[in-house]
C-alpha cells in the first residue's frame, strides 16, 4: 500500500501545533568553487515521513549535514520549532541537537562499545538516571526493535539490518522530536530494505517523531513517504505529497521517475 493510500496519520496533540516542524529557507553551501546548495527552501511536516530524494551528487547529504548543523551553511535559514539555528554557536546548539536523532547510512555505531552501551550512551550523557533505570529503558528499546538478544554483541558482529535497528534504538534513546535517516536502505537486500522501511514507519507511529528520510530508493519512498521533496543540482525541483509528486509537470521529475522505473499508473495501482 502506498503512503498516499494510507493517508496522513492522526495526531490530536499535533493539531494545535504548527504543522511545519522545520523550515528551510534560501539555504546555500559552497565547497571551494562548487556551490552544492543553491538557495534551497522546503518544509518538513510534523509527525510525518518527509522524504528527500535526488540523484547522487544532488546535495542530499550536504543538505542533511546543514539541517543538524554538522556544518554551518553559507547563507539561508533553518528554523526548528520557530527558532532559527543556522547561526547558533556549538554551545547554543546543544539543546537544539537534543531534538534530533540521526541514523547514519553506515549506522555509525561506536565500535568500541557493545550494543547495550551504544544505546545507553545518550542516557548516561544527558540524564541523571541510575544505572538500573538506564538498563530498563535500554532493554525496553532493544526489545521493541527486536534486537534485545544482541545486547552484548559488538557492532562488528551484527548484520546490516540489525545495525540499522540498533542505530534507530540509539537515536530514539532520548526520545527526539525529529529523526533523520541518511539513505537507510542503501546496500541492503530488498527484504532487509523492506524491514527497514517498516521500522521507520513503526517508529514514527509509535513514538510520534517527525522523520526525514534521505533516499533514492523509489520503492521505499512511495512505500513510507507522506511528503516528498526532490533536490536537483542544489535546488528544490518539486515538493509535495506522493500524488502531487507523481503528477508533477517538471520534466526533471518525470525523467527521475522514469529512470527509477516508477509510473503514475503503477503507483496508483499500488504496485510500487
Amino acid at each position: 500500500m502506498t503512503a498516499a493510500a494510507r493517508g496522513a496519520p492522526d495526531g490530536a496533540a499535533d493539531a494545535a501545533r504548527d504543522p511545519v516542524h522545520l523550515r528551510v529557507r534560501g539555504l546555500r553551501k559552497r565547497y571551494g568553487e562548487h556551490e552544492v546548495l543553491r538557495g534551497v527552501s522546503f518544509d518538513v511536516l510534523r509527525g510525518l515521513n518527509n522524504i528527500l530524494i535526488g540523484a547522487s551528487g544532488s546535495g542530499k547529504t550536504v543538505m542533511v549535514r546543514q539541517l543538524i548543523r554538522l556544518e554551518r551553511p553559507d547563507a539561508g535559514e533553518i528554523i526548528v520549532d520557530g527558532r532559527e539555528i543556522s547561526r547558533l554557536s556549538d554551545v547554543e546548539l546543544v539543546p537544539v541537537r537534543r531534538k534530533f536523532g540521526m541514523v547514519f547510512q553506515m549506522s555509525a555505531l561506536f565500535d568500541s562499545m557493545d550494543v547495550y552501551d551504544n544505546v545507553a550512551f545518550l542516557l548516561r550523557e544527558h540524564t541523571t538516571l541510575r544505572e538500573r533505570d538506564i538498563r530498563e529503558k535500554v532493554m525496553a528499546r532493544l526489545q521493541a526493535l527486536g534486537v534485545e538478544h544482541a545486547a552484548h554483541k559488538l557492532p562488528a558482529e551484527l548484520s546490516g539490518g540489525m545495525k540499522k535497528r540498533v542505530a534507530v534504538a540509539r537515536a530514539l534513546a532520548l526520545e527526539p522530536e525529529i529523526l533523520i535517516y541518511d539513505e537507510p536502505t542503501t546496500g541492503l537486500d530488498p527484504i532487509t530494505s523492506r524491514t527497514v522501511d517498516d521500522l521507520i514507519e513503526q517508529t514514527r507511529e509509535t513514538y510520534g517523531v517527525t522523520s526525514i528520510v534521505i533516499s533514492h530508493d523509489m520503492a521505499s519512498v512511495f512505500r513510507i513517504g507522506h511528503h516528498i521533496t526532490y533536490l536537483y543540482k542544489g535546488v528544490i525541483e518539486a515538493s509535495g505529497s506522493p500524488q502531487e509528486f507523481l503528477a508533477s509537470p517538471s520534466p526533471r521529475v518525470r525523467e527521475f521517475l522514469e529512470a527509477s522505473g516508477v509510473s503514475r499508473e503503477r503507483m496508483e495501482g499500488g504496485r510500487a
Partner: protein, 287 residues
C-alpha cells in the same frame, strides 16, 4: 575591376607571436614546492592552534569526564610503562658502555655515572619516553580517531549533542601532558639502573664512585628540566595525534596516512621543541 588584376602591394609579413619560452619543468616544480611548503606548514600550525583552542574552551566547560580521563591516563601511561622501561634500560646500558669506553682514553671512566645521570635526566629520558609514547599511544590515538571520523562516529557524537573535542580530544591531551613526565621519571630510574648494571657489574667500575657521581652531579634542576620538556612533549605528541585522527579523510587509506603523518610530525616536533626548550632554560643556543 577584379581584385586579381590589382598590382601586388608590397606587404610586411604579419607579426608572428613569438612562442613564450617555457620554464623548465624542474623550475616550475621547484617554484610550486617553494610556495606550497610554507603554506602547508602554516596551515598545519593553524589547524593545531584551532584544535587546541577548542580543547581549552571545551576542557574548561562541564561535564568533566573523569572516567574518560582515567581511561586515557591508563592507556597513555600504564600501557606504555613496559616499552618505556625497556627502552630506558637499553639506552642506559648502551650509554654506559660508550661512556666507559670513551672516557677510558682519558682515564676518566669514573665520570660515567655523572654523565649518564645528566644526559638521561635532561635529554634522553624526556625525548625517548615521548618518542615511545608517540609510536605506541599517539599512533593508536590517530588511528582510532581517524576510523571514527571516516565511519561517521564523530559526526554521530555531534548529532547527539556531545562535543567530540570535549569527549575525545581533551582527555587524551591531558593524559599526554600528565603521563609523559611520569614515564620520564621511570625512564630516568631504569636508565640509570641499566647504566649501573653495565658500568659496575660488567665493566667493573667502583659502585660507590658511580653512585656518588650520579648524586653529586645530578641535581633537582636537571630533573626539572627533563620534566618540563616531558610536559610539553606529551602535550604536543597527543595534540598532533588527535589533530591528524580527528580531521582524517579518505577512508582506510586516509586513516593510514593520518597515522603516518602524526608519528612523523610528532617525532620532528619533539626534536625541534627540545632545542627550543633547552635553549630557553639554559639561556644559551640563541633563543
Amino acid at each position: 575591376m577584379s581584385e586579381a588584376s590589382q598590382p601586388a602591394q608590397p606587404t610586411s609579413p604579419p607579426p608572428v607571436a613569438q612562442p613564450r619560452r617555457a620554464l623548465p619543468r624542474w623550475l616550475v616544480a621547484l617554484g610550486r614546492t617553494a610556495v606550497a611548503l610554507p603554506l602547508r606548514f602554516f596551515g598545519e600550525i593553524g589547524m593545531l592552534a584551532g584544535l587546541l583552542g577548542q580543547a581549552i574552551f571545551w576542557g574548561l566547560r562541564p561535564p568533566y569526564r573523569v572516567g574518560l580521563l582515567l581511561a586515557a591516563l591508563e592507556f597513555v601511561g600504564v600501557q606504555s610503562l613496559f616499552i618505556v622501561g625497556l627502552t630506558g634500560l637499553f639506552i642506559g646500558m648502551v650509554f654506559g658502555i660508550q661512556l666507559v669506553d670513551g672516557f677510558r682514553q682519558f682515564g676518566a671512566e669514573n665520570q660515567a655515572g655523572s654523565v649518564v645521570g645528566m644526559a638521561l635526566t635532561r635529554e634522553l629520558a624526556p625525548v625517548f619516553a615521548s618518542l615511545m609514547v608517540s609510536a605506541r599511544a599517539g599512533s593508536a590515538m590517530s588511528t582510532e580517531l581517524g576510523s571514527m571520523r571516516v565511519t561517521d562516529q564523530i559526526d554521530a557524537l555531534t548529532t547527539m549533542a556531545v562535543n567530540p573535542v570535549q569527549f575525545l580530544v581533551v582527555p587524551r591531551i591531558i593524559a599526554g601532558a600528565l603521563m609523559v613526565p611520569l614515564l620520564t621519571m621511570v625512564f630516568n630510574l631504569i636508565g640509570i639502573f641499566g647504566a649501573w648494571l653495565v658500568c659496575v657489574q660488567i665493566l667493573g667500575l667502583d659502585p660507590g664512585v658511580f653512585a656518588e657521581n650520579v648524586k653529586w652531579y645530578v641535581d633537582a634542576r636537571d630533573v626539572t628540566q627533563g620534566l618540563v620538556k616531558a610536559v610539553f612533549f606529551g602535550f604536543t605528541v597527543t595534540l598532533i595525534a588527535c589533530r591528524h585522527g580527528f580531521y582524517a579523510q579518505g577512508g582506510a587509506a586516509g586513516v593510514g596516512q593520518a597515522t603516518t603523518r602524526a608519528v612523523v610530525q610528532s617525532a620532528v616536533s619533539i626534536l625541534v621543541l627540545d632545542y627550543v626548550i633547552t635553549s630557553v632554560i639554559t639561556g644559551q643556543g640563541g633563543l
